[in-house]
Symmetry: C2
Subunit: 516 residues, 2 copies
């Protein structure tokens, strides 16, 4: 295998599983294809019914065969039942070598492990967590894990890097003709943003629902002219209670609260915290706390922002309700409060994944962000950020919109403690690169704030006396001192089990199988 070093110093093979890879050469590159993908033309004629009563019928109608590709959204997060249901059906039908393209794999999907081992699922395209992630790290899947950002996923579907045979859309409500929304019914999950590129570009689209409403469903988030079958099931497609996980609760840890406060101090010092601010934060506990502190500050000072974006959380919705933003752009509703707001508040706007973050579109919303607060599992002295792997090399997460917002926002802040357990967060080289250092402006820890010397805000932030700025090397040294040395390098074999794509489709990094 021939390797080429990319811009963040990672060795990328020229080819993998028969596909040529493009090494990452810096943000803002591409398009690497001239035209969008051209999905198959289907036809539903007057008198045809779309309503089916089993997933198997839909799989057959969609013509799925060995080696095929199926897609899913993860708006139910850890309460999603559909991905498992469809895979069980596929296994029963004796299909194999299937490529999964969900927008995320969550611990609830642990039960699919056996299908990786049996070669029923051989490729996964998305961030993964739980046992599936662990198994892939240990070489249990025959093919490749391709980790993409939310914008990168939308791009890959729109430009045909991924050709979806059947998109399965868990649909809280649908009418008989496949007009879908996520805001009504017992199983409301909010925005259907991640499913929108799938609906537009898949070769067959299946809405799976427990709740058939009279035609026309209203509002229409995904419209009938893209939906080929409507599967009406009694078995629930998902559990909205699973949307909120522990990672989505406001932190109470004083260390993290300090970090959250300092994030807001950094935004203030940058000059961006003023009338018309646009803002996004991740859904981690620290980011949620930062959102609350931002809210308090804006209220106190009478500052009105323009839009908040996300991952919509209760914290963000309350800012909208308090008049601190004119609008929320919502690609994913992170809690029931946000789901209800999307239903009831016309200023809470549903947004598709391309509209949110596809870099190779006519313009995505992350491009208009003033500031974003994001997390990491590691950051290195080049400000490269890791969100996907543990320090021992095992895969643990995807990356959500990390790459997208960090490239798009004027000011990108990474908020994390200097160490977690006995693991340092700042290192010489991150195990895996999810966002390149060129996207990152500031790293905020409980023991100081490092500003990227390449950031346009370097001068203004390092000159702000109230900010405890340090070099990233100093923070690294502090971390090593606390832990008593450098962390161990992960022990890996030479088999590549995963790649991390940049949002434009080039390759940022590869992930190796860990040693037993």
């Amino acid at each position: 295998m021939k390797f080429v070093k990319n811009k963040v110093g990672r060795s990328i093979p020229e080819e993998l599983f028969g596909k040529k890879l493009i090494p990452f050469t810096g943000k803002g590159k591409g398009p690497y294809k001239e035209r969008k993908y051209a999905p198959k033309i289907r036809k539903t004629s007057p008198g045809d019914s779309k309503v089916l009563t089993s997933i198997q019928e839909a799989i057959k109608k969609g013509g799925l065969a060995d080696g095929g590709t199926i897609s899913f959204h993860h708006h139910f997060r850890n309460g999603d039942y559909l991905l498992n249901m469809v895979c069980h059906e596929i296994a029963k039908m004796g299909l194999k070598d299937i490529r999964l393209v969900p927008s995320s794999i969550q611990p609830i999907n642990d039960e699919l492990l056996t299908y990786l081992e049996k070669g029923i699922i051989t490729h996964i395209n998305c961030g993964t967590s739980g046992k599936i992630a662990d198994a892939i790290s240990r070489g249990k899947m025959k093919g490749l894990l391709t980790i993409r950002s939310h914008g990168g996923r939308a791009r890959s579907i729109e430009n045909g890097d991924v050709e979806i045979d059947i998109a399965f859309i868990a649909s809280p409500t649908s009418d008989e003709y496949g007009n879908i929304n996520g805001v009504h019914g017992k199983y409301a999950c909010g925005s259907l943003g991640y499913a929108m590129p799938d609906a537009q570009f898949a070769n067959y689209v299946v809405a799976v629902t427990n709740t058939l409403v009279p035609f026309p469903n209203n509002p229409i988030s995904i419209s009938q002219d893209h939906v080929d079958s409507v599967v009406l099931l009694k078995k629930p497609i998902g559990n909205p209670a699973g949307i909120v996980t522990t990672s989505l609760r406001v932190t109470r840890d004083p260390k993290n609260l300090k970090i959250a406060r300092d994030c807001i101090e950094v935004i203030k010092a940058s000059g961006l915290l003023k009338e018309g601010l646009s803002f996004q934060s991740g859904a981690g506990g620290t980011a949620l706390a930062a959102t609350q502190f931002l809210s308090q500050y804006m209220k106190a000072k009478g500052i009105k922002g323009s839009f908040g974006m996300g991952g919509a959380t209760e914290a963000l919705v309350r800012m909208l309700e308090d008049g601190l933003f004119d609008a929320i752009l919502d690609v994913q509703s992170f809690d029931i409060y946000a789901v209800r707001s999307l239903l009831n508040n016309p200023k809470h706007i549903e947004m598709g994944a391309s509209q949110y973050a596809n870099p190779l579109s006519s313009g995505c919303a992350v491009n208009l962000l003033d500031t974003v607060i994001l997390g990491c599992t590691e950051i290195d002295t080049k400000f490269n950020v890791n969100t996907s792997t543990e320090s021992d090399g095992r895969i643990m997460h995807g990356m959500g919109g990390h790459q997208d917002t960090s490239e798009g926002a004027k000011l990108t802040i990474i908020a994390a403690p200097l160490q977690r357990g006995r693991i340092p967060i700042v290192v010489d080289d991150v195990v895996s690169v999810n966002s390149p250092g060129e996207n990152i402006d500031v790293f905020v820890t409980e023991r100081g704030i490092a500003v990227n010397p390449e950031s346009q805000y370097f001068d203004i932030l390092t000159k702000t006396k109230s900010l405890n700025t340090k070099s990233i090397e100093d923070l690294k040294a502090e971390a090593e001192k606390l832990i008593g040395g450098k962390p161990q390098k992960p022990k890996t074999t030479d088999r590549i089990v995963g790649i991390i794509e940049y949002r434009d489709g080039s390759v940022l990094d590869v992930i190796y199988q860990v040693e037993k």
Copy 2:
């Protein structure tokens, strides 16, 4: 030139202007292409501005060249200023051989005549009226007029029969990133339905607006990820007063009122006028009257329908407001009352042209229509309907959604008087076929009702004693008696100046140049 006879008996050349033609072989055929069109991938990066201040800049950015194709919507109808503005600019720039793909050409576009004569505009794809239509009939345009239904237009854009270089979208409001709606501002025109396929499938998309609103515009009818430039002009893009034309007023003619009443009698007799009725009517005076009679009847009987569709008119909106429908699906707002309703009534739903009527999509709304009332300029004894040409062979109109709704609806009613002036409406053979007889169930005139023997409603309607049913041949004989003979055949040359496509892309008819 080799010709093939199609299913409605018209001789269709095998090829025209280098393009192979598919003769019409009956409804429900196609797709004739396997895949959708793959538009160019464009990119707007963080920091890029989309806002321009002249149409010329946008034409240049879109890379329009000689032989190029540009598209427009006609939601301002006879109040549209943008199509003319862009063509004047193109003429100034010295471009030539341009293909126009508006959703309609109206009399306000008469001033473009000179560009046909100069070879600046050489092909037009849409229904036309006014001087442009007349000039094409007389051979003044070098290329070909292709008349498509609204659904056929959407299909041609989605399947790449038409490749749009630049779509110009007259946008009542836009934000700086090209999120557009038609319901706000001084120049509100309502639904932007016809522009939606253009936005999705054009290779470059330009929003032209007088009203730039803060990001994000809300609601978003066409989203930023498809819009490449936003041209902000002081000169108005359109005059909403031009939306309503005389053809959109309720008739007062007793003859037409009788026809309108009988249309409702036919629907009653068919058994479709019951709970859950779905309904569309054209925007002619008789159709509007029929809508009012339907409303009165439903109110009196306590019947509640499911949805009304259109061309939304005040008459239809009032039925929604009176609770006679659950929803209106609106691809085009026909008057200011409908525009306001789309803004304020959540049950009034905006719909794209593919969602409305694209036959080669996963399912369009016309497929779910119970009944539609439509007009015609001629109908023949095979129930073939002409909407586009005069009895002397000259082009006078397009056909709107005639083909789409007549194929989709269970019961299609053509409502027209037996004669207009000294011109009979029922003839042996229509001059041009816009909708094939197989789509038509009933022809309602002031002197009797003809039911198509092929209609599933033939027995029930002809057995209903309260309906004055006659054979179409009898109606034709009556018309000839009234006028004193058969109408003259149009005098034409052997040059083909236009074709009428069926909605699936096959060719229903050709239009010849008229003799001087």
